[in-house]
Symmetry: C2
Amino acid sequence: MSKELTSRAEDYSQWYNDLVIKGGLADYSAVRGCMVIKPYGFALWENMRDQLDKMFKETGHVNAYFPLFIPKSFLSKEAAHVEGFAKECAVVTHYRLMNDPNGKGIVVDPDAKLEEELIVRPTSETIIWHSYKDWIQSYRDLPLLINQWANVVRWEMRTRLFLRTAEFLWQEGHTAHATKEEAIEETKKMLDVYAEFVETYMAVPVIKGVKTASERFAGAEDTYCIEAMMQDGKALQAGTSHFLGQNFAKAFDVQFLTKENKQEYVWATSWGVSTRLIGALIMAHSDDQGLILPPKIAPQQVVIVPIYKGEESKAPIDAKANEIMASLKVKGIRVKYDNNDNSRPGWKFAQHELQGVPVRIAMGLRDLENKVVEVARRDTKEKNSMSLDGLADNISNLLEEIQQNIYNKALAFRTEHITTADNWDDFVKLLDGKGGFISAHWDGTAETEEKIKEQTKATIRCIPLNNKQEAGVCILTGKPSTQRVLFARAY
Amino acid sequence: MSKELTSRAEDYSQWYNDLVIKGGLADYSAVRGCMVIKPYGFALWENMRDQLDKMFKETGHVNAYFPLFIPKSFLSKEAAHVEGFAKECAVVTHYRLMNDPNGKGIVVDPDAKLEEELIVRPTSETIIWHSYKDWIQSYRDLPLLINQWANVVRWEMRTRLFLRTAEFLWQEGHTAHATKEEAIEETKKMLDVYAEFVETYMAVPVIKGVKTASERFAGAEDTYCIEAMMQDGKALQAGTSHFLGQNFAKAFDVQFLTKENKQEYVWATSWGVSTRLIGALIMAHSDDQGLILPPKIAPQQVVIVPIYKGEESKAPIDAKANEIMASLKVKGIRVKYDNNDNSRPGWKFAQHELQGVPVRIAMGLRDLENKVVEVARRDTKEKNSMSLDGLADNISNLLEEIQQNIYNKALAFRTEHITTADNWDDFVKLLDGKGGFISAHWDGTAETEEKIKEQTKATIRCIPLNNKQEAGVCILTGKPSTQRVLFARAY
C-alpha cells in the first residue's frame, strides 16, 4: 500500500515527511524551499488561525495589512535588527520582464532596475514602525494594538515542510504603548494567549520562559517564548513574544506627546506564531499509522463510513447516516459522510486513520437492526459499540475526552523527558540517549552557552518563568550559578 | 476641521482619496504603489472576505495555499498568458544581503544571484497548474475545486488606493474538470456567486456579461465579468470568471484517465475578486460627508453616543446603553458604545458619519426619562425619536431597510445611466456629458474596438448575458451588427 509510512523507530525524520505528504497536508513546490499547503493542511491552519484570531480580538487587537516589500535601507535603521536578522532575504531588483531579443522566452528588462532594492518581508517591524510614525502623535493614539496575518520569506538553506520553509504563513502582532510597564504586560499577555491556544486547542503542553541574550529576537530587549517537546525528544519553539523597548521607536523616530505635555519615545512589542505550529502538532501526537489530531482543530471531527453490500442495503444506511449527521451538526460537530462508492471500507479506515480524524463511526445493516453503531477513536484505537440513543451527546463527550487524553499523553511524555543533570558527563549522556529538556546550571555567559552549543548542538531553550532560584555550579565551567535553565536539541 | 472632504462636484478623484485616507481605510506606504490597509479598512475587507469564503465553501470549494514566487520560465509556458500579462512584475534576482564593505549599511550580495529569477505572483495559474500535474491522474481526482486567498503584485505605473495598487489582496479560484461543459458551468456559477455577493452584501447592482476577445484574460477562452457603475458615471469591473479551456492543461501537460480509459487534457477555470471591491463600494454609495456602508458588511452597524454633562448624569446613560448593546448583540448586530470622554458628541457624530456607520443612536438623560432615543440613519440622514420598547427589533428592521435603500439608490442611478446611442455624435456627447454605460452597436471587430478606445477612452465593458439580438449598424464604421454592447469609460 503506497500510503504506508516509515515508522518513527526506523527514521523519525522520514516518518514526519511521509506523514505530511501522504496525509495530504503539504507538498513540495517548483520553487526551492517553498511549500504548497494542500486543502487538508490548509483546513487545519484555518481552524488554528480562526481560533487565534478570536483570542487576539478578545484581547483588544485589530487586524491590518502592511506591504509585502520593505525598502532595503529600512533594514539598516535598527542596528541589532539588521545584524542579527536581515541577511538571508529575497531581494527584488527589477520591475519588468521583456521578450528575449534572441527569441528564447522572456528575460528581465535591464532598463527596469529599481533605484533602491526591495526586500520581501522576513518580518515587518521596520515597515510598520515607519507607518506608526505618522499614526502616533499623542497619548490619545496609544495603545495601538495591531495584528497582521501574512506571508513572510526567509531564505533558509535547509528546509523542511512546515518546520522551516523559505515562505511561510504567520501572524505578527505589533503594538505601541505609552509606558514600559504596559508594553511588558502586553508581551506577557500575548505569551499567555499563545500558551493557552497551544495547550487548549492543539493539546500540546508548553513551557513558558524567556530567552537568553544570544537567542533573543534581533532588536528585542527580551524575548519570551513557549517551548514544546516532540516525540523524538527534541524541543520546538512554538511561539515568541518580544518586548522591543524603545528600539524601533528610536530607529523610526516615533515620539508621542504625554499627558504631561512631554515628547517621549513609544514602547513596543511584537509577537508571532506561524505554520510551523502545524509541524509541532504533527510531531507531538501522531503515530506510525498516521496523524492524530486534537478534535478542537481537526478539519473533520467525525467521519461516518457505511458498510454494505449491494444498493438495496445502502438506502437505509444512508438515511440513518444523514440523521446522525444532522444530530451531530446541531452540536457544532464537524462531520463527514464518506459514502464514496469507489473505495472499500478497509481502505477508507486506513485513510481516515492516516489523516487523523478523531472519531470514526462505522455502520452496517445489522448494526441498525440492533440500534447501534461501531465507534472507533483514533487516539487509542479503541472500538466500541454505541447505542443510537443519545449518540450525539456521547460523541460530543467522547471528543472532549479525546482532546484531554491527547493532551495528557503529551504532558506525561514531556514530564518524563525533563531531566536534571548536574555534571557534564550526565548532560552529554542524556542528550545522546534519552533526549528531552535537560535542567542544568549554567554560568550565565554567552561564551559558555556558545561552547555548549558547539560541543553538543544543544541550546538553552529558555529560562522558565518564575524559575526556582537555587545555588549550583555550571555544568561546563563549574562557575557558580543561581538557577537551572532548560537545554535541548531543537527544531 | 481637518476631516473635511473635497466635494464630489469639486473634484471627484480627490473626494475619493480624501475619503479613503480621512475615513481611516488605507494609507500610502513607503513603497511606491503599495498601500497600507488600516484597521477600519481591513475590518471591512474581513467582512467581505468571510462572506465570500462562506459562499465558496457552500459551492463545494476548499482553500489551499501556493507559493508567492513563480519561476520565470513558467510564465512563458502558456503563450497568450505571457504575451498579455506577465511583463510588469516584481522580479527577485538575489537571495542574500551583506554588510557594505565600505561601511554604508547593507548591499545585495553579488554572490547570491539566483540561477533562475523568481517572479512575485501577479496571478497563480502557472504555479498551480504545475502542482495539478502531480495531483490529477484520473477522473476520480476531478473536479478539483480550489481557492486561495493571497497577495499578488503587478507593477502598475499609475496607482490609486484600492483601485490599482502594486500589491493587492485577492482570492483566486482555480478549478479542474473532466469536461468542457462542467468547466463552463463552473465559470458561470462563480460569476453568479460574485454577482450575488456584490448585489446582496455590497448593495452594488452589477451587469453580468462576457468580455470581447481583446479584453479577455490572457490565456482564457472566455472571460465573464460583473460590471458596476460608479457615481461619476464610470464603470468598474468588480469581478471576473474565466473559462480557460485546456490551455493551461496543455501548457503544463495535465492529462487524466477518463472512465473510458483514455488520456485527455483537463478543462480549467479561474476566477477572482480583490480589495478593488472596496474602491467600488466607496464610489458607488458615499457622499460629501463621508462613507456610506451597507449594514451587511459595515465593521460597525450601530454606534451609541451618550449625551451628558457631568459624571452624575453619565452613570444612568451608561447603564441603559449597556442594556441596549446587549439586546442588539443578541440579534447579531455589531454595535459599539462610543463613550470616549476626550471628544464631544458633535465631533463623534461627524466622525461616525465620515466612517459610514449605518445607524447612530444618541441618548441623553431627558431621552431616558421619556423612554426614547434619537436614531439617525447614515444613508438618508433622517433622525427619529424611537421608543426603547422593541428598540432592538426596530433597529434590526431599520438595518435591513437601509441595506435595501442603498441598493435601490445605486440601482436607480445605474438605470438612469444606461443610455442608447445610435450614432457617433450621440455616443461621444454622452461619454463627455452624462457618462454611464452606453448601449450601442459595434461591428464585432477588434480593430473598431481599438479605434473607439483610442478616440474616446471608452471600452466595451461587456456583452451582457442573454443579450437581446437585434439588427443595427456599428456606431463607428456603419457596418452591420447583430447586438448592442455596453461601452463606458472605466476605472
